[in-house]
Amino acid sequence: MKGRGVLTGVHFMHGDHACAEGAIAAGCRFFAGYPITPSTEIAERLAQRLPEVGGVFIQMEDEIASIVAVIGASAAGARAMTATSGPGFSLMMESVGLAAMMEIPCVIVDVQRGSPSTGLPTLPGQADVMQARWGSHGDYEIAAYAPWSPQEMFDLTVLAFNVADRFRIPVMVMADEVVGHMVERVVIPPEDQIPRWERKRPRYPAGDGFKPFLVEDEDLVPPMVHAGEGYRVHFTGLTHDERGYPDMSAETHHRLVTRLVEKVRRNASQMIRYDTYALDDAKIVVISYGCTARSARRAVADARRMGIPAGLLRLISLWPFPADVVRELARQADAFIVAEMNLGQMICEVERYVSQPVKGVFHAGGAMIPPDPILQAIREVAFHGPRAGGGKASAG
């Protein structure tokens, strides 16, 4: 059943399928998942494709089992992934913390739908973006990317694997139903042009005194030992010392958790991705992500045609949040507008870093926010001042 790994070429591809192909191209060889709209096409594609490249696909009994099997497979050395939507994402949250604590890389794709609860299974939402950051208990940090096209479903899935492996953290691809179910051109590069960041591997031989969580590098990432290599290491979700042994002291706990958080903060520049449009002289900065950013770009283009100095900052990495970029924009901008398909989530993050008024263009989900309400918000701010409309508007 050997087939082609990387489908190099120009395709007209479904977003969920592009995500699956990104995983294959990134070297993902293990997928465990549970069917859930609108992510199911990722599982279906990988059920077909993984056996072709010698990989493993398994449909588990629920999303809890799925994420845990992914972590287990990764512990054995495989690049491993699961894909889900809101309800399943919620079920996975406990073990996101396990992956963070054990420092076992994994990739979780959330094709967001209208929520909370069962919500709108077949229609889009962007209301899981704070859950991606804060969903598990305790202090930990992750990376999360928001694709706005099938092409980015491919590219950011590759990036997610690289960031996960390089920094030994869970990484989320926070897609949405629009992008997941949209068909568009996807260019898959030749295999040797797919970026690949490897896991750090042990530098010392197995033996007494080997410390699997010993950190010797500035990046705070310990090399990773896989099951079956003779190191006989212990991984636990309990607070542990450099040997991996449980240690219930406040001192060890503070040192470990601080390192896990600091590891991501210190290396954030390698994880942060964003895109800009017409920002150079922009006085009104629109910030958006995922499918909503497509409408935001149109709104900004229309505003420019009307002579309004608007620009777009598109968040590609939601987490780590590009705080420095936003701070820098705050030096030139009169006002910020955040457009997102929820009732105000990433806007809170923007408000942390700017002193200007931030206007929200929100919708609870179910349909992509069209360009018009974003353009209207830009015009209100342009013609009536940054505090026009009382701050937060609804696109509905």
């Binding site: 179910h181 568009e184 770009r297 992509m368």
Partner: protein, 178 residues
């Protein structure tokens, strides 16, 4: 240039495949930007089916069809539902045996299912209608759609589908000549 195309009918008529092949012809073989979307959820139930293609010479921001420039309607339900959404000067194509247009409407007509049955398989009516559209609209080159058909379908299905496409294309040429 932004053109919005909607193909609608009932489940089993292959409207999603037709939309995919058309979008692929634009995006891969014409060097244009194209997005295909389809209905999911409640609006996709009840046996109705539609696919939507937006094509443009610049990046497509908003991916959905709002006011179609082209409507290809293969069922009465689709006609009733979508006919009013079209732009005033829209190109409207109907499956003439399945759609009874309103008295004041003058859509283009093709007996796609009958022509497909003439080829032995009614399921290729979607390719017949795609051929008709290609010939009448001038929006896409014949070879681009043919390449999209060849690279999308399983090899054993390609000859019949190409034949169906050619049948629709030539039907249009013939009708226009008349």
């Amino acid at each position: 240039m932004r053109k919005e195309i909607r193909i609608a009918g009932f489940g089993g008529q292959g409207v999603v495949l037709a939309g995919y092949i058309l979008g692929k012809a634009f995006a891969v073989y014409e060097g244009l930007e194209a997005v295909m979307t389809q209905s999911y959820g409640p609006e996709a139930r009840g046996g109705s089916s539609s696919s939507n293609v937006v094509v443009s010479d610049e990046p497509i921001d908003y991916p959905f069809v709002l006011e179609p420039d082209v409507l290809i309607l293969l069922s009465q339900e689709a006609y009733t539902r979508f006919r009013p959404t079209a732009k005033p000067d829209a190109l409207v194509i109907i499956e003439e045996d399945l759609v009874q247009p309103w008295p004041d409407d003058r859509p283009l007509r093709i007996p796609a299912t009958r022509l497909a049955e003439g080829l032995g398989r009614r399921i290729v009516a979607n390719m017949v209608v795609l051929g008709f559209f290609t010939a009448v609209s001038g929006l896409v080159k014949r070879e681009s759609v043919e390449k999209a058909i060849e690279t999308t379908l399983a090899p054993r299905l390609v000859p019949l589908n190409l034949k169906a496409f050619a049948t629709g294309y030539e039907y249009c040429v013939k009708e226009q000549a008349r």
